[in-house]
């Protein structure tokens, strides 16, 4: 039963994202390893739906979800670890980051390397 539920969630998430035309990286997502796909879909889902509803403001540039997307696209599985690290650091000890202006607003630069 539990296994079935996990499978159902996974199948739903993959088919859902395929049906809803994800503009930028749909072709890219198809090319990444199967194990990393759910992480990418989760980020896409957050960016397209949850983020908009939540209307949150990330003081860092790029935002955490964008950082995750970039990190995973660059580093694959290692990018997921980097994303977790970023979630730890987000909005804390900001004096350690360079300040930039993005869309007229002050942001703290922290790009995935």
């Amino acid at each position: 039963m539990k296994l079935f539920l996990i499978l159902l969630i996974y199948i739903y998430s993959t088919t859902y994202c395929q049906e809803n035309d994800l503009p930028s990286d749909t072709t890219f997502i198809e090319s990444i390893p199967l194990l990393i796909k759910p992480a990418m879909y989760t980020i896409e889902f957050y960016q397209n739906y949850l983020g908009k509803i939540k209307g949150s403001y990330c003081p860092m540039y790029p935002s955490c979800s964008e950082y995750g997307r970039l990190a995973i696209s660059k580093n694959g599985f290692w990018g997921i670890i980097k994303t977790f690290d970023r979630l730890h650091r987000c909005s804390h000890d900001l004096e350690n980051y360079d300040v930039i202006l993005f869309d007229g607003e002050m942001r703290y630069l922290d790009e995935p390397n």
Binding site: K2, L5, I6, I80, I81, K82, T83, F84, D85, R86, L87, H88, R89, H92, D93, N96, N113
Partner: protein, 276 residues
């Protein structure tokens, strides 16, 4: 803007074509543009001098000035290329031998700067070698090789540079006395206790958030495991592992970043107000 262009077309271009300036006058105009920091106009004038009088005695000097204009405008590659063409003709031209590594240093390409100095050291006369060693010492510091940097500073005998060297050795001593961040320590601290590595890196807020988040997910994993709730254990375990590995990686990277910034800060102090 358009009016300026029309004025240039009507007056400036014909004056270039039909002018009968002698070389000194053109260079004088170019120098005045250079001194007024109008580098684009200065480049045009220096080039005009070299085109009209290709065998003039100031040819190389004009090329050097063009390269300096490019450097001051931030076009470092162009500047280096011009100096390299000068060095092809006159391998011992001091200005170019100094300017190329200096420009590489401005580009933060310290290893290339050192490589150039190493290859061209033999062409420099003894009195000027110390200026290059000074650059090399600064490069070694920027490359995080503090001992080499100190060693090279101590080999400089030039009296004019002595004040600068004393000041720089003091800056290096100050750098050595401040707290350094070892990335291995930061990593291992985070392995042993959640967030301890961040505490070592003076990042208190991140330490608290790491401790809180990792404890939460570890607790969730243990409780769900006790209650035999497999999905909860799976997700709790996944998130705990992710955050745990992430914090280890993050502490290591941040220690490196902090050290790099520290070196950059002190490197800026080293080269501040250095003129050859």
């Amino acid at each position: 803007m358009n009016q300026i262009r029309i004025i240039i077309i009507l007056f400036y271009i014909p004056s270039i074509i039909f002018s009968n300036d002698d070389i000194e006058n053109i260079i004088k105009v170019a120098d005045s543009f250079y001194n007024d920091m109008k580098f684009e106009l200065a480049i045009i004038e220096y080039q005009r001098a070299n085109v009209i009088y290709p065998k003039n005695e100031y040819y190389i000097q004009n090329q050097v000035q063009i390269a300096n204009c490019y450097r001051n405008m931030g076009y470092f590659i162009e500047s280096i290329n011009i100096h390299k063409t000068i060095l092809e003709k006159t391998p011992n031209h001091w200005n170019s031998i100094f300017e190329v590594p200096f420009t590489y240093q401005l580009m933060n390409n310290f290893s290339e700067s050192n490589r150039f100095i190493r290859n061209h050291f033999k062409y420099v006369v003894n009195g000027k070698k110390d200026s290059l060693i000074f650059l090399k010492s600064c490069n070694h510091f920027a490359l995080m090789e503090v001992d080499s940097s100190k060693l090279f500073f101590n080999t400089i005998n030039e009296l004019n540079l002595q004040n600068l060297i004393d000041r720089n050795i003091n800056v290096i001593s100050e750098f050595e006395s401040i707290k350094h961040f070892d990335y291995k320590k930061a990593k291992y601290f985070n392995m042993l206790f959640p967030g301890a590595g961040y505490l070592y890196l003076d990042m208190d807020q991140t330490f608290i958030s790491t401790l809180f988040v990792e404890s939460l997910f570890l607790y969730a994993t243990i409780v769900t495991k006790k209650n035999q709730y497999a999905i909860g254990t799976l997700f709790g375990g996944l998130f705990f592992s992710g955050f745990y590995l992430g914090s280890i990686y993050g502490a290591e990277q941040f220690a490196k970043k902090k050290m790099k910034n520290l070196y950059k800060k002190y490197f800026d102090k080293l080269i501040f107000d250095y003129h050859y």
